[in-house]
């Protein structure tokens, strides 16, 4: 019988993604309830140094899969080595972070393993021995609870920031795997990284977003200053993206990114249904808008009715003092 809760410990450039620690922490609880082992699958090149951190967040075991060909993520290479490992050890569940990589890997992997996959989940619980996942559909306008009753492993990708990452000391057993990376058909020609000290939008605890009310690209600097004080990511409405003020990777909403930060500050955003779909699960929403009738105020925890060009600079200065 399939046994063991597995977490895909996503790393890029020698850094484990925070969401992997979140999954280990929550996976620990599930594994304890089931009396099963919690294992992390770590894939890459020269990544053995990351094993301890995975133990720290609860892994009993780490499958360490290293090869030169696995230095960069490729769909084919990673699908092959993880699928082979799953077939060999038959875990009961395999969880991944819902990141660009997690999503990419999970789909092909689920098909190769002929199993079910629930994506972008925001909760997981055990009901009668089955893992039941909650996932938003229609961009958060509704939720569905679902399970994968028979096929194993049950697979899910979990949205970053869903669970808390809690460190507890463990020294994991390391299983070194010599992988067959197979034929990798995706050839990585180039990786371009925008140099940014800000966190990734989908992982950020705090997001400062701007909409059409920003009036122009140059004014996003005002938001950057605010976000730097808060250690926040910058986001945008589609209106700001379509106007060409910021790149589409900033867009929050039904056809952009879905985010669940602790704090979301919407500046000059009216609160169209498509925008709300992407951010209404934020724990605390702040709206700054000069129109007191703006829809965003209907769900904002705190609102300021006023000109954002007056409000934001003062807020930035005040927060500097508060955060000091």
């Amino acid at each position: 019988m399939a046994k063991g809760i597995w977490i895909f410990a996503e790393q890029r450039e020698g850094q484990v993604k925070k969401v992997a620690f979140e999954l280990l922490s929550e996976g620990r609880k599930i594994a304890d309830q089931l009396g099963e082992e919690l294992a992390a699958v770590l894939v890459g090149k020269d990544v053995a140094g990351l094993v301890d951190a995975l133990g720290e967040y609860g892994a009993d075991k780490v499958y360490l899969v290293e090869a030169d060909a696995l230095e960069n993520y490729t769909t084919d290479g990673y699908t092959k080595v993880v699928a082979d490992l799953v077939k060999q050890y038959e875990p009961s569940a395999l969880l991944l972070g819902c990141t660009v990589t997690g999503r990419d890997l999970a789909a092909g992997l689920a098909q190769r393993l002929e199993t079910g996959l629930m994506t972008d989940c925001i909760n997981m619980e055990l009901t009668d021995g089955q893992l039941v996942f909650t996932r938003p559909v229609y961009a958060g306008k509704a939720f569905v609870k679902a399970s994968c009753p028979e096929a194993r492993p049950a697979m899910a990708t979990i949205r970053p920031n869903t669970f808390a990452a809690v460190a507890g000391a463990k020294t994991p057993e390391v299983v070194k795997v010599t992988p067959d990376t197979g034929d990798i058909r995706q050839v990585i020609k180039d990786i371009v990284r925008q140099i940014s000290t800000r966190p990734e939008l989908t992982e950020a605890d705090i997001i400062v977003s701007g909409g059409r009310g920003m009036k122009g690209p140059e004014n996003f600097k005002t938001l950057e200053e605010l976000s730097d004080v808060l250690g926040a990511a910058v986001g945008a409405s589609r209106a700001a993206v379509d106007a060409g003020w910021v790149s589409h990777s900033f867009q929050v909403g039904q056809t952009g990114k879905t985010v669940s930060p602790v704090l979301y500050i919407a500046c000059g955003i009216s609160g169209a249904i498509q925008h709300l779909a992407g951010m209404s699960s934020a724990k605390c929403i702040v709206a700054i808008n000069k129109d007191e009738e703006a829809n965003i105020f209907k769900l904002a925890d705190y609102g300021i009715v006023g000109d954002l060009f007056e409000v934001v600079p003062v807020l930035t200065e005040e927060l500097k003092k508060v955060m000091a």
Binding site: G116, V137, K141, V187, I188, I191, Q274, G306, D307, V312
Partner: protein, 253 residues
């Protein structure tokens, strides 16, 4: 160049969600659209066709109404459509992918395009599964695609940047916003579309096992968020007060 586009009909983004008597999402009276990401896929297919010789076939699995979305693609300039009628079948992404892959395997293809995600209950996995079943490489969430000499060079979005990936054809690509600007069907296009071939097949005739792997247990709506407080005072004063409230009351910073 034979280009296939998988496209799904979805609820309009303005749609409000309600449940039917069985506690499932009710589609009655909801305006349906082509999944926005699939519009980028169709547009890209048309651009590839226009840059050389080619034929674009659009494929959708769904109810009879999905024809409307297929017709829209034909009106944009696609050549043929295939409708895989699902009837009363309960499908999950596994089943959908099996069905699409089976239909595709009966066609010729060099390039298969889809959206990176369906905006309804979509989960950004159908195309990955299709690629796996067909055993062709996939490049996901692309914002640029160049085709030359039986190869494709695609730029895909990754966290905090982008990646340039080369694959040999045939291959699957999924479209992200930024790939192109989808055209609107012209009047002439709409007229022409009516005469273009629409091949209809019942999913049950495809001879594949469509038993879903995932079981939906229950649906619910999010808790309605309540309007909170408007921080009083002149802008500067309110900003000062807000900073304090975020720390002391909301405790989020």
């Amino acid at each position: 160049m034979k280009i296939l586009v998988c496209m799904k009909q979805t609820f309009d983004t303005e749609a409000k969600i309600a449940f039917d008597g069985d506690g499932k999402i009710d589609g009655k009276g909801v305006t349906m659209i082509m999944n926005p990401y699939d519009e980028y896929a169709v547009e890209e297919a048309l651009k590839i066709k226009e840059s050389g010789a080619g034929e674009v076939t659009v494929i959708s699995a769904g109810g009879a109404k999905a024809q409307d979305a297929l017709r829209q693609a034909l009106a944009m300039g696609a050549d043929k459509a295939v409708l895989l009628e699902t009837g009363e079948l309960e499908m999950d992404e596994y089943a959908t992918a099996v069905v699409l892959a089976k239909a595709i395997s009966e066609l010729e293809y060099d390039i298969i395009l889809g959206g990176f995600r369906a905006i309804d209950d979509g989960s950004a996995q159908v195309m990955g599964r299709v690629a796996e079943i067909l055993n062709v490489p996939i490049v996901n969430v692309i914002t640029k695609l160049e085709i030359a000499d039986g190869k494709a060079v695609a730029t895909r979005e990754i966290e905090g940047g982008s990646e340039v990936v080369e694959v040999s054809l045939p291959a699957v690509f999924t479209a992200q916003k930024g790939l192109n600007e989808p055209r609107y069907p012209s009047m002439k296009g709409i007229m022409k579309a009516k005469k273009k071939p629409m091949d209809k097949k019942s999913v049950s005739d495809l001879g594949v096992d469509v038993a879903p792997k995932v079981k939906a247990l229950s649906f619910s709506l999010p808790e309605q968020r309540q309007a909170g407080k408007v921080v009083p005072g002149e802008p500067a004063e309110a900003a000062r007060e807000l900073a304090r409230m975020l720390r002391e009351e909301a405790k989020v910073i």
